[in-house]
Symmetry: C2
Subunit: 108 residues, 2 copies
């Protein structure tokens, strides 16, 4: 029996990405900047309150940023940072696995 | 504004993988079958109760299986199934991203 020392960075990444809806939010933003309502409409089961929380967490983690356009009315868009865009291989790997191994009823 | 229809399989995969500790448990098992205590020792912050729950979920999802060896005392090992082993690219992608983008204090 030998303890397996896990990389704290790996743990931190999974704690961030592992939160409910986070993967989906990032995936939507992979297609480009979106407004709050666009993302909310893409994930109908998620409440707006939850989306606000996730945005705050992902912004704090440096994965996404808010762009504010001083139009009338003001336009606010959420976009991935470089750190966020770098998650594409993760999203692609999850997608590939899901397509091959998760059955079509979405069984977990 | 156009809703982005998200693949339910992708959602289901993230709901499974996104649970706390699940990524770490799978990563430990990537190195080969392990006994309960080995995994518990590898992730000291996780309670045994939580590990039992995760094992049940991952077994139900077909990601891992229990191997029971009729020795004295009985030996029980947990091992990834083919579906579980197929998660290696996901684990590798998360690891690569974490090493590049998560700072060394494990900031999220």
């Amino acid at each position: 029996m030998h303890p397996h020392p896990l990389c704290p960075k790996f743990e931190a990444a999974f704690e961030l990405l592992g939160k409910r809806w986070t993967g989906l939010i990032i995936r939507v933003l992979m297609d480009g900047p979106r407004r709050f309502r666009d993302i909310s409409d893409s994930i109908p089961q998620m409440s707006d309150k939850m989306l606000s929380e996730r945005f705050k967490e992902l912004e704090a983690a440096g994965v996404l940023k808010r762009n504010i356009y001083p139009e009338k009315p003001v336009r606010i868009e959420y976009a991935l940072t470089e750190k966020g865009k770098a998650l594409r291989p993760v999203m692609d790997a999850v997608q590939a696995w899901a397509e091959e191994w998760v059955d079509s009823e979405g069984e977990k």
